[in-house]
Symmetry: C2
Amino acid sequence: MSLAQEMFAIAPAEGKANLTAAQLKLLAGKARWIFRVGEAGFPTVPTIAITRAAWEALQSERTRLDTRLRTHWIACLFKLVGKDGKAPMLAVRTSAANHNSGLQPARTGIAAPTAPEDSVDPTRPLAKAIKQAFESYGFSQGGWANFRGEDDRARQIVLIQAAAEGELEQFLTRNAATGALGPAPLNGAPLPRLPESIGSLISLLDAKAGRHMACLVAIQKGKVQFLSARPVQASAAAELEAAVDRVQNKIWSPHNAVSRVDPNRLPQLLHPRIKSTEDVTPIATGLGVSPGAASGIITFSAEDAARLRARGKHCILVVNETGPADIEGMKAATGILTARGGMTSHAGVIARITGKPCVAGVRTLSVDTNEMICRIGSRELRPGDRLTIDGSDGSVYLGTLPLAQPHIGGNIGTLLGWSDASRSIAVRTNVETVESAATALSFGAEGIGLARSEHMFFSPERLVALRRMILSEDEEARSLAVNGLVDFQTGDYSALFSVMGGLPVTVRLFDPPLHEFLPRNDEEIEETAASLGVAVRALRLRLERIAEVNPMLGHRGVRLAITYPEILQMQMQAVIAGAREASERLNKPIPVEVMVPFVSTASEVAWVRERTMAIVANSGLLKSEKVKFSFGTMIELPRACLRAGDIAGMVDFISFGTNDLTQTTFGISRDDAPTFLTVYQRKGIYERDPFVTIDEKGVGEMISIAIQRGRAANSRLKIGICGEHAGDPVSLKFFSGLGVDYVSCAPYRVPVARLTLAQAAT
Amino acid sequence: MSLAQEMFAIAPAEGKANLTAAQLKLLAGKARWIFRVGEAGFPTVPTIAITRAAWEALQSERTRLDTRLRTHWIACLFKLVGKDGKAPMLAVRTSAANHNSGLQPARTGIAAPTAPEDSVDPTRPLAKAIKQAFESYGFSQGGWANFRGEDDRARQIVLIQAAAEGELEQFLTRNAATGALGPAPLNGAPLPRLPESIGSLISLLDAKAGRHMACLVAIQKGKVQFLSARPVQASAAAELEAAVDRVQNKIWSPHNAVSRVDPNRLPQLLHPRIKSTEDVTPIATGLGVSPGAASGIITFSAEDAARLRARGKHCILVVNETGPADIEGMKAATGILTARGGMTSHAGVIARITGKPCVAGVRTLSVDTNEMICRIGSRELRPGDRLTIDGSDGSVYLGTLPLAQPHIGGNIGTLLGWSDASRSIAVRTNVETVESAATALSFGAEGIGLARSEHMFFSPERLVALRRMILSEDEEARSLAVNGLVDFQTGDYSALFSVMGGLPVTVRLFDPPLHEFLPRNDEEIEETAASLGVAVRALRLRLERIAEVNPMLGHRGVRLAITYPEILQMQMQAVIAGAREASERLNKPIPVEVMVPFVSTASEVAWVRERTMAIVANSGLLKSEKVKFSFGTMIELPRACLRAGDIAGMVDFISFGTNDLTQTTFGISRDDAPTFLTVYQRKGIYERDPFVTIDEKGVGEMISIAIQRGRAANSRLKIGICGEHAGDPVSLKFFSGLGVDYVSCAPYRVPVARLTLAQAAT
């Protein structure tokens, strides 16, 4: 017999199966569970399996009028016959590795063949059912263009079972919503009455499969006979609870639990989500830029959003794009929907900070605030109409869909506790407000890896101060504006250091790409002019002068510190004063890490380092032992990667900003990418969105080069990753292999990183 | 005596100087020419030299009341005494390696010391003059913080000469304007009457120095005695003519001439320039983005410029920034001055293409077209006022300064002919119009290395067609718009291929960063709407939708070809039809090289290659042998450099686009860089502007990596450089070391590249 030509009993009517190693390998899908349950001694319906290769060989033998294989086949069928020697009625089942809806449902009530030739004749009931079962696999289970696919196809199996006697009943091994050990109802059907002995079957299957299983049994006179089982997808919460339960019952080791929970599913536990999308179709799709689902009344303005919120109503703020003037409206809204913008758009950034679900860049959406109407495709919607958005996948639905609130319990904490035991890479978070820091701490963040100072200005009164600084015409005006910021900032840093309770905090020096902080439309310009006390005309002129063609590659990051040293001076003054306050409040030293962003040359690092160290030395803070100060740089440009050897000698740490590094390595503006990224993915140009999963071959090599050169020049160099990739499991596994010291991600991604890094460590 | 403690005769009154090797090394400045002329046997005033080290040792000996060195010094002074044994009157001269205005002028009429102690006593005339001469060197001749500087200082020399008898006369060895062998007048003074024997001195000096020399002689009774000489800077034209003349007179080999002409000075020969800026001060400075000088009446509009031109008047178009609507005005103007924009701004690009001098990004300039006034700093200027701009260095002057028109003659051709003999790297040009191609050919371009197809649309009627394509709402509209372009393009390519007469032409696939091609202000939007036949409101909506945050990193280059394959199809159709026409006209095959821009992955190259090759194959053109077709890609993103190994297997050639590669490697938008680049250079963060001279340590390493990986994967890979750095001498020397096959630069830079690459080859 050639490879995979196999026909054998997996649960014989009498005795044990005694499978060969080759046969064990063929046990895909249900076959596996039937074999294991039977092998464990639980009463199981007699079952035999035949591979496609064997079935095709039987058919080919028929045309040659040979009977050698058929004889073997009939001997195999006899394994279904019990002690009484009576041929049972038969059932034919598929047993695919992955369930799909095209598979033939079980055929039952098939009479056993009465003549040897009937057993292989596809016009007779048994052979016909087997033939159709194989046909229903189709070619979907893997490509058919390569040998590997052909081989897999030959190994597909079909099961023939003796008919079970008694009532057939279905149930789950664990509760689909809570994860508690079953029996539990399947698909909302009432739970059948089951004898007590079902408990041992459930425990057996749960231990063997380690997943929620849908189970089919026959019950006759209180006796249970096992027919079949297949895994079902439970909610993330239920799977997590089941994993913890298995550890507590010594079925799994903590290590098993850590390695078997999918990190991608954790965020679902931490945000509201749509209960079911089975019977609904999105009316539009954009980019899910801030996760979670939200339902509410459509509103087009910040004022309406605030009014609705005051009346306790949920609303979705629908705009073409957001700007600084919309921040209060975004805070008041339950969710945000925009026509333009991407992951790093103003809407995306603010939504993630404030934890609001947000769908951005819906190309078919346009908002006409004059007519108080918005169009999504050909639909016209008005204030008061309802929408549901899913900021995790970018879907937009008409009406209010039921949402599920997070059900966490202590299980996630338990699992992550186990994770931490086998993890060596630290997990920090990217936050700059006390609220987000508290959230991140509750998720287990071990410090702040990226506090984006400029984000501390996302409130109307702060924004005026920041704009005054950016719009200054000369050094004197800038110094005045800058001084107006010191008090704000000191309080901010003091509060942030305090809430972190002595954990390290990385403060990134100011890095405001201008376009994110300046007024855009007429109304905003008029407001800003009024608040700054300048003429609208003068403000417009100034705005025109400082407007940039490509602000992402413009006058930002370290360039700002070097051209306007008074900003660096102010910021360091505030950081130092904040650290002093926090240190006194906590009565312990504050680990402050100052990080200079967007460098491309070692000379930039040297320049900022010299001035920063002078300011710190002058403050006397180091001697007082109130801070543990370190200085580092953000590596987010290709040139900085190449020159990491020069840079490393001057810094205590480097942290990779993978967002900007991806933008510059690929030459793609993340904000503008949506216009071609979908086409690129459809045409297979990109396997994955490089802004979601790190591009190992390009950006990844850049990072590798930098780490290798940096470590060679400074063996004590601490290395981190602080782009959004630090919250993506596939990317985290790659970073883990590079030997970084820490990663820093959004608060809601901290659990994902903790779990993924534990998996990667083992 | 310690190192450099030397006192010796360089032209003794009697006999030969017989210098040691150490003494020969000390001959900086005038000393060198005095020694050489004397050594050659031409009557020369007796001269001795003393180093600072020796002078200081003499002074130190005085305090010790020792006389050993002084005895030696007096012996040395006696070398100035002639046969008659009478002590002559003396002169003291500095002899610095580089002339500077702080040096003490010659002190003459000094009586010889009458007592030995007088010869070193700084209160006595001779020693006082020597002391002051050394003091006048200051510390300016090199840093004084390092040993090297100290050492150089010890080696500085002062000359003591016997007074010459007769009339002192000054003249140049060659004419400062024409380069013809002298005697020629110095600084516009009338040429003195000189005896015929002066000819041998001039020939002698010209051969020894190989530069224009200012010469000082004493003439008594028709006899000439040489005193001193120093090199002077002549015009580029004069130096070139002198170099060629020396070769023709067998003083130099052609190789000497090639290696001694500074390539940076050639462009001055090819553009008008300001005759003299000695007595004028710029009223503003911007970026010189298109070389050459221009004078004219200020005008603020294209119409006025056209009107003035029609009346034969020169004008300078002064605007805040230029856009497509200004193209006719720019063509009509003599020069262009803008308040905003940089090297790659619309103004810069068009100005270089049309050969108009242009100064851009003058931050102190603002234009108010309503009040018909422009302000430069605190000055208010109106139409009719006159300005002179220098597009080579970015200066703006009030009024009309006299300009010098290029004086080329056949010398530049002769020199470049010699260059070509020792050059192995080909020089191509970046052009797309027949006019520019003809210019480049006249400068010796060996092909087109970069024809930017989108630039063929910089005329009003073409622009409408291009905008129709960009603004298309769907594929059908786009196909219609695209078809409207085929005829334009076919004619363009046919003409371009024809004028190049069978030299290779690299056609870059469309790469229009959107912001450079779309209407911006209200007026342009209204005009565009009218020409496209759409409502202004609809056009605005469309413009808002496709507006990009960072257009340089947006939907351009290969991304356009992949998302809108109909554009690729149209362009290839036009290229093929154009090549067919040109081939028939010239009756020879056309070497067409198609280059896909802005790739970051090998998959992009594969996708475009497959479609491009299919279109070419379908055309039947390859079989007809009317084209020699090759396919390549532009490497201008860091990721493409890293993946060059994957890419190289699919292409015949790669060409580095160093402008974009510098932008992405540094993360700097060239358009926005001026706001911090000047501060960066002032603070020493950048040694050089990386957009002018290639950054060897960063961008250079990127290129090296790509070349190494590309060649390893495809040994027949042809490699070029087509960024603006390909016209910069320092960068060209670096590229030459990388082993590229060709460079491609702006037409006016072709001679620079030919000369530099010849120098680098030897």
